[in-house]
C-alpha cells in the first residue's frame, strides 16, 4: 500500500481547502453554475438525477481496513448508509449534500482518500490488475508504476483542462484483468529475456458512443521513460484533441481521423523532443525511484504453509454452500498455502456494486484479520481479499456469508456489471438496475448458473457506457424512444486479452422483453454449444450471430429485417 508522506498529505489537505472556498463562493453567488460545474467535477462531484454524486478515487483499486472503516462512517454520516463500486474501481456516494462535501472530503483525507480528478476533463483514476502482486501469471507488479504515473498526473497544471476525460490502465501479467484496451491509454508492462522492463503502450481505446479498442503505439518504451512517454501522449491530446464537439473530443477520435501512422509520428516526435530537453531530465525515472516506489508494494509477511489449520476439504464436504463458494469465488495464489478470495457484490436483489456501511465494516474487519489489512476493487464491481491463508478460508466465508458478501457467482450469469442507470444518473435514458434484477431472477438457481458457465452480462443505461455494455458477452444498452425505455443488445464483446467490441444483434427490445430476450439468447447457446466446456463467448465466435438473431426475432427473414 502506498503510504503518504508530507507532500501527499499537504497536497490533499490543501486541495480540500481550495474546494471548500470554491463551494463557498458558489453558494454565495460568486461563481456561475457553469464555472462551478467545472471545478466540482474535478473534485469528484457530479450532478445526478436526485442529488450530487461524489466519486471517490481508489487508485488501482487498492483499499485498506482503516479506509473501509472511514467509508462506513462517512456513508452513514453524509449519505444514506451505502456506497457503490464502479467499473473503474472507484466508489460513488449517491446522496451527499453539496454544502457538506468539503467536510466529507476532509474526513476522507484523514485516511488517504480523495476525489481529485475523479470526474471532469482531466486524467482520471488510474486502474490496474486487481490481482496485482498475487496472480501467478504476473511477471511485474504494475502498482509501483501506476502510482508513479498517478503522482505525475495529479494536479498536473498543464493537463488540468484537457479536451475530455483521459484514462490510463496498467497490467503486468499475461491475463488482462483491467479491461486495459478500453482505456485511452493501456500500459502493459513487458519484461524482456535479458530482464529489461518496459511498456507496451496502446492508445485510443474508449467506450461510450463510439466504442474502440486501443491500438499499439509503441511495443517497448523503456522503463525509465514512463513519464516522458505519458507526457508526450497527454500533450499530443491536449494540443490536438477536438474541443468543438464533446462527443468527438476523446483521443480515439484524433487517432481515427488521423490514422495510426500520422498519430504515431506526432506522438513519437513529441516524445523525442521531451527526451532531448530539460523536461526529459526531470521526467526520466532512475532505478532508485522505481525501487523506492516498489518498497510500498512489498509482499506481506506470508506465514509458512506448513502451519496447521482447519481442514478445508473436510469442511467443504460438510457445507455445500462453503464448497460452492470455494469453487466459484476462490482462486489460486502464487504463494503456497494462500488463496485469493473474490467477494461478490452481486447478491440477489442487491444493486450490483453497492456496499452498505455494515458491509464496509465487515470488510474492514475481515481484511484486517485475514488479508493483511487490504482489499481491492475490480472493474466488474466485485472485491478481492488477495492474501487469505487457506486455513482461514472457512472463517472468512462465514463472515462474508453472514454479510451477504459470499454469493458464489463470480464470472457467472448473475455476476452482472451494471451502471446506476435511470434510478440515479442524470445522463441515463433507461434503468439498468431493474433489468439486472429481472435477469438475475431468471437464473437464480446455482445449478442453472453453473450449467451456463462463464458469461459476462453488462448493462449501461445510456451511450456513455459506464456499465461497459460494448464489451459484454451480452451487452445491454438502455435507450429512450419517445419517453419509453428500450434496450439494444450486442453480442460477442469482451474486455480482456481477447478484447472485442460487441456486435449489435438487431432492433431494440422493450422493457418488458429484455429479460426474456437474454434468457432466449442463453438457451440458444446451451442448445448450440459443442459440449459443456465451450463457453458462451467461444460458442458465439464459432457459430456467429445468425442463430441468436433467429432466437430473438423469429424466422430468418424477420431476423434479417430486425
Amino acid at each position: 500500500m502506498y503510504r503518504y508522506d508530507d507532500t501527499d498529505r499537504a497536497l490533499v489537505t490543501q486541495r480540500v481547502e481550495q474546494f471548500r472556498d470554491q463551494t463557498r463562493r458558489y453558494l454565495a453567488g460568486e461563481l456561475t453554475e457553469d464555472e462551478f460545474r467545472q471545478l466540482r467535477l474535478r473534485n469528484g462531484l457530479y450532478q445526478q438525477r436526485h442529488a450530487p454524486m461524489l466519486r471517490i478515487s481508489v487508485p488501482y483499486g487498492l483499499l485498506e481496513s482503516a479506509q473501509l472503516r472511514k467509508l462506513a462512517a462517512v456513508v452513514r454520516k453524509y449519505d444514506k448508509g451505502y456506497g457503490h463500486f464502479t467499473t473503474r474501481q472507484n466508489i460513488q456516494l449517491n446522496w451527499p449534500k453539496l454544502e457538506q462535501v468539503p467536510d466529507l472530503l476532509g474526513e476522507l483525507a484523514e485516511v488517504q482518500l480523495h476525489a481529485i480528478q475523479a470526474c471532469g476533463n482531466d486524467t482520471r483514476n488510474i486502474t490496474a490488475d486487481y490481482l496485482a502482486g498475487v496472480a501467478d501469471d504476473e511477471h511485474t507488479d504494475p502498482r509501483p508504476y501506476a502510482e508513479l504515473l498517478r503522482q505525475f498526473v495529479t494536479l498536473n497544471p498543464e493537463f488540468y483542462w484537457l479536451p475530455r476525460k483521459f484514462k490510463f490502465a496498467f497490467i503486468g501479467a499475461t491475463v488482462d484483468r483491467a479491461a486495459t484496451r478500453t482505456n485511452d491509454v493501456a500500459i502493459h508492462l513487458v519484461r524482456r529475456e535479458n530482464g529489461a522492463i518496459g511498456y507496451r503502450v496502446f492508445v485510443g481505446g474508449g467506450l461510450g458512443r463510439l466504442p474502440l479498442l486501443g491500438r499499439e503505439m509503441n511495443p517497448f518504451v523503456p522503463e525509465s521513460d514512463l513519464l516522458c512517454y505519458a507526457c508526450a501522449v497527454l500533450r499530443t491530446f491536449n494540443r490536438f484533441g477536438r474541443r468543438d464537439n464533446i462527443h468527438k473530443a476523446r483521443i480515439k477520435i484524433v487517432l481515427r481521423d488521423w490514422g495510426e501512422e500520422r498519430f504515431r509520428a506526432a506522438l513519437e516526435q513529441e516524445y523525442a523532443r521531451i527526451k532531448a530537453s530539460i523536461e526529459g531530465e526531470e521526467l526520466r525515472l532512475l532505478p532508485e525511484d522505481i525501487e523506492r516506489m516498489r518498497a510500498h508494494f512489498k509482499p506481506p509477511a506470508y506465514r509458512s504453509a506448513a502451519e496447521a489449520g482447519a481442514d478445508v476439504a473436510a469442511l467443504a464436504q460438510q457445507h455445500a454452500a462453503f464448497a460452492a463458494w470455494l469453487k466459484r469465488n476462490v482462486r489460486r495464489h502464487k504463494m503456497p498455502g494462500y488463496r485469493i478470495v473474490l467477494v461478490s457484490l452481486k447478491a440477489p436483489d442487491h444493486v450490483p456494486g453497492d456496499c452498505s456501511a455494515e458491509q464496509f465494516e465487515v470488510l474492514a474487519e475481515v481484511s484486517a484479520a485475514h488479508s493483511f489489512g487490504e482489499l481491492r476493487s475490480t472493474y466488474d464491481q466485485n472485491l478481492v481479499l488477495a492474501d487469505v491463508a487457506e486455513r482461514d478460508l472457512y472463517d472468512v466465508w462465514r463472515k462474508l456469508d453472514a454479510a451477504k458478501l459470499a454469493t458464489p457467482n463470480i464470472g457467472l450469469v448473475t455476476d452482472i456489471v451494471c451502471c446506476p442507470g435511470l434510478d440515479f444518473c442524470g445522463l441515463a435514458n433507461a434503468s439498468s438496475i431493474g433489468v439486472a434484477h429481472e435477469i438475475y431472477r431468471r437464473f437464480d438457481t446455482l445449478d442453472a448458473q453453473y450449467e451456463i458457465g462463464p458469461i459476462r452480462i453488462t448493462i449501461s443505461g445510456c451511450m456513455n457506457g459506464c456499465g461497459h455494455h460494448s464489451v459484454g458477452h451480452i451487452g445491454i444498452l438502455g435507450v429512450d424512444k419517445h419517453g419509453e425505455e428500450w434496450y439494444q443488445v450486442t453480442l460477442g464483446g469482451s474486455p480482456g486479452n481477447d478484447a472485442a467490441v460487441g456486435e449489435r444483434i438487431g432492433r431494440a427490445l422493450a422493457r418488458g422483453e429484455i429479460a426474456e430476450g437474454v434468457e432466449r439468447l442463453i438457451r440458444t447457446y446451451l442448445e448450440l454449444r459443442s459440449d459443456e466446456e465451450e463457453t458462451f463467448i467461444e460458442c458465439y465466435r464459432r457459430v456467429g450471430i445468425a442463430p441468436f438473431k433467429v432466437c430473438l426475432y423469429g424466422s430468418e427473414s424477420e431476423a434479417a429485417a430486425a
Binding site: Q151, P157, E158, R239, S277, I278, E288
Partner: protein
Amino acid sequence: MTMILRAGDVVVDDWMVLEDGRTDPPPAGGRVIVTLARWRAERETLLAAHDAVAVLVPNTADIEEVYAQIADRPLIVLQFPAFTDGRALSQAVVLRKRLGFKGELRAIGDVIRDLVFWLGRCGFDSIVPRHDQNLHACREALREITVAYQAAADAHAPVWIRRRAGAAVN
C-alpha cells in the same frame, strides 16, 4: 487603465492591443500587442513605429515552429478562449521549459480566478483576468496550493527527484 497581475502584483497594464482590423493609422510610440499574422507581415514597420512590440499567438499554433520568429519578443501573449481550454498551458510549458523563453508570458481571454493557480504553475507571469474578476482574489489564487508532485514551469522540482537519497528537500 487596465489593471493586471504581473509577477504576483497588481499593476497597471502598459501594453496596448493593436487590433488587426484597424484601418486608421496606429498610434506611434508605446508598447503594442499584435497578432502573429500581423507580426509576420509587418515586422519592420511595427518595430519602427513602436517602442516595443509583443505578439499574440493563437492557441492552435505549433509553438515550437513559430518560436524562431518570436523568441526575441519582450512579451508573448497566449489565449484562453474559454477557461476550460488548456491548449495554451502546453504552449506555455514548452515555451518556458524546452525553448527557454525568459520574457514576459501573458494569459488573456476567459481568465477566471480559478484558472490563475494553473497559469502560475505553467510559467505565466502576466495574467489579465476577465473584467469581472477580483484582481486581489486572483493574486491570492496563485498560492492556493503550495506543494506539487510534478515540475511544470515554476519552482517545484518533481517529487520523485526530491525523494531521491540525499536530495535537498524542496
